[in-house]
């Protein structure tokens, strides 16, 4: 059987674990072998993984690159080997500046959705008039794909009327614990704020900040936290506990993985080039709606 390969920038984040599952299930359903390689946010390893995949006889490759700057190198490698390449989650450009076929939702789109939802909740809450509110933007400042998300979210918030001065940037490394550690002092440093909006690059970042707010004595109704991924947000919802998580963007990794696999296989079988965009759905979920669209464990 022919084999298709997926390369993911991280194998330890739930979203990519889901994506790998979707990718492999779709391949199997259509009688293809599949392999998944994770590169743990390492650009150099991503290049190695790409050449390993090609050397291993892959007929098509899907990749979520750790960095969008890798686009030209990856596109050239695939073109040289004459196999189809599809970018997932983070769009890539080839050497000529043309987009590589893409499946999923990009970081800017994610950040925009999160920002929109947060802005909507903020406007509804009425904090914009009168209350002293702040916005915690939890960011991995060393990772461009993360910055894309939080920048887009912040843009939406300010567009909806939030003051740019209200934004407090919380640097972390993508983990819950780091977010918790970094958010603590920043909350302390803004004692005038009695209501907080929280956005981040992932659910872990939001969770850490929400926990830090809890530690600082904030009640759930004083927090508007919008998750990204929904896998942490859904837990208190499922348990029926009050929480600062008011909504979250649910990304179905499984769907993106399956869409990428199917697109690759279609192209291999038909000999046609890949479609430029294979769109998968994103959904904003909240405590009342999440159960319809996602599992929660």
């Amino acid at each position: 059987a022919q084999e298709i390969v997926a390369i993911y920038k991280s194998g330890t984040q739930q979203y990519f674990i889901d994506q790998a599952e979707g990718f492999q299930a779709a391949a199997e359903a259509r009688g293809y072998d599949s392999r998944v390689i994770n590169v743990e946010l390492d650009s150099n390893l991503a290049i190695s993984a790409m050449s390993d995949a090609i050397a291993g006889g892959a007929s098509g490759i899907a990749i979520t690159a750790p960095d969008q700057a890798l686009g030209p190198a990856l596109a050239t490698a695939a073109a040289d080997a004459g196999i189809p390449l599809i970018a997932t989650d983070d769009p890539l450009m080839d050497e000529g500046g043309n987009p590589v076929p893409f499946a999923g939702f990009d970081g800017v789109a994610m950040g925009t959705s999160v920002g929109e939802k947060a802005a909507e909740l903020l406007v509804e809450s009425g904090w914009l008039d009168g209350e002293s509110y702040g916005i915690l933007s939890v960011e991995v400042q060393t990772l461009s794909v993360c910055e894309d998300r939080t920048n887009a979210a912040k843009e939406q918030l300010t567009a909806a009327g939030a003051s740019p001065d209200a934004i407090v940037q919380v640097p972390y490394d993508g983990t819950t614990d780091a977010s918790l550690t970094a958010a603590g002092p920043l909350i302390t440093a803004n004692p005038q704020v009695d209501r907080w909006v929280v956005v981040a690059c992932n659910d872990e970042g939001v969770l850490g900040a929400v926990n830090a707010l809890g530690n600082a004595g904030f009640q759930p109704d004083e927090i508007i936290a919008v998750g990204l991924g929904a896998y942490e947000a859904c837990r208190p919802w499922a348990a029926g506990l009050p929480t600062g998580f008011k909504a979250a963007l649910y990304l179905s990794g499984t769907d993106v993985g399956a869409a990428a696999a199917n697109a690759l296989i279609d192209s291999i079988e038909s000999g046609e080039p890949l479609p430029l965009n294979t769109v998968a759905d994103t959904t904003i979920v909240d405590p009342t709606t999440y159960a319809d669209v996602m599992p929660c464990e």
Partner: protein
């Protein structure tokens, strides 16, 4: 002359001298660095000295602090344990799973620490029985235990755990009163562990044997100290404390984190131990020094976050602080030796 770790008969010195004797002359430079740092931060942020922020720092020290205490034992014994972060990750998952299954926080803590201990014994076995040097052995288990953590976690995913009692361990406070925000439980745990470790290192046969075996393994072996059994005990303790750190990660983040929450922790802990005055070659290092170093690093991180300094500058600042803290110590040492030499020269004239 530098201080030794043997308690001397109590003298009639002033309080200052007694403090110096306790922290050790070498650690004075850490205290100096800490004071300068605190002054700098406090001058820039009025919030630094708020009770809440101080306690916040204490709380944030807990995870690295626990690892650093275990690492101090390991490094003083002339070993190294690079796997602590991975052990903490595995223990964090086990703790979450146990609490979810049994609803008993005590069992969760015990489970996490037990796993840590077992993994520590695995390290010791590789080092003693297979005679693999500690750096390679724990670099290997650094990888293997991390893999294990993901394999334990169903689907390799973080395990959510919402038990309020467990949460109390991570972010609860005791002695909370009007105006005083209370003392974080996780800090109290660290404090307790550090004090016990300090006493063990200073006054027990086990502790003194660690200094001997680290300073001169041949001498220790020939004097009848069983290096193998010592290593088993030391790595088991390091593992158990890593397990406890993992439990606290679970409690703080309300989820068992196979890797996130524990990445790079080994370097943090190692940094603290060396900054606290330990030597790579073993035989030297104190719990007091390590804890001061942990505090210095935690204050720096807190201060920089408080002042909203971006990550890039934080990285540079952390590097500079480390160099400065050790360089101050070296400079003081050199100066005091020069003075002693001059005094000796003058005296014999």
């Amino acid at each position: 002359m530098t201080t030794t770790d043997t308690p001397r008969p109590p003298s009639q010195d002033g309080a200052l001298k007694r403090i110096t004797a306790f922290v050790g002359a070498e650690n004075l430079s850490l205290i100096i660095a800490l004071i300068i740092l605190v002054a700098l931060i406090a001058s820039q942020s009025e919030f630094f000295f708020s009770a809440r922020n101080i306690l916040n720092i204490g709380q944030n020290m807990a995870v690295v602090g626990l690892l650093a205490v275990g690492m101090t034992l390991v490094i003083v014994s002339a070993g190294l344990d690079i796997s602590v972060g991975s052990m903490a990750g595995a223990a964090s998952v086990v703790c979450a799973l146990v609490v979810n299954a049994t609803d008993m926080v005590g069992l969760g803590i015990a489970g996490g620490m037990a796993l840590g201990t077992v993994l520590g014994l695995v390290n010791a076995t590789i080092i003693t029985v297979l005679r693999v040097n500690p750096v390679v052995a724990t670099l290997a288990t650094f990888s293997a235990f991390r893999g294990l953590a993901f394999l334990i976690a169903p689907g390799g995913r973080p395990v959510g755990v919402l038990d309020p009692e467990l949460r109390f361990l991570g972010s609860g406070r005791v002695f909370e009163t009007e105006g005083f925000p209370g003392i974080p439980v996780s800090f109290l745990i660290l404090l307790f562990v550090a004090v016990v470790a300090h006493i063990v290192m200073k006054t027990t046969v086990f502790g003194r044997s660690i200094y001997s075996m680290g300073g001169n393994p041949a001498a220790a072996r020939l004097a009848g100290i069983n290096l193998t059994s010592m290593k088993f005990r030391i790595y088991a303790i390091s593992g158990a404390l890593a397990g406890l750190a993992g439990v606290i990660v679970t409690a703080r983040t309300s989820s068992g984190q196979p890797a996130s929450g524990t990445q790079g922790l080994e370097l943090e802990a190692i940094t603290a131990v060396f900054l606290g005055g330990a030597l790579l070659s073993g035989g030297k290092g104190t719990i007091v020094g390590t804890m001061l170093a942990v505090m210095l690093i935690a204050v720096l991180a807190n201060g920089m976050n408080l002042l909203g300094i971006p990550t890039f500058y934080q990285l540079v600042a952390k590097g500079l602080l480390l160099v400065a803290a050790v360089a101050i110590g070296q400079w003081r040492l050199a100066r005091s030796e020069r003075q002693q030499a001059q005094a000796a020269a003058a005296g014999s004239q």
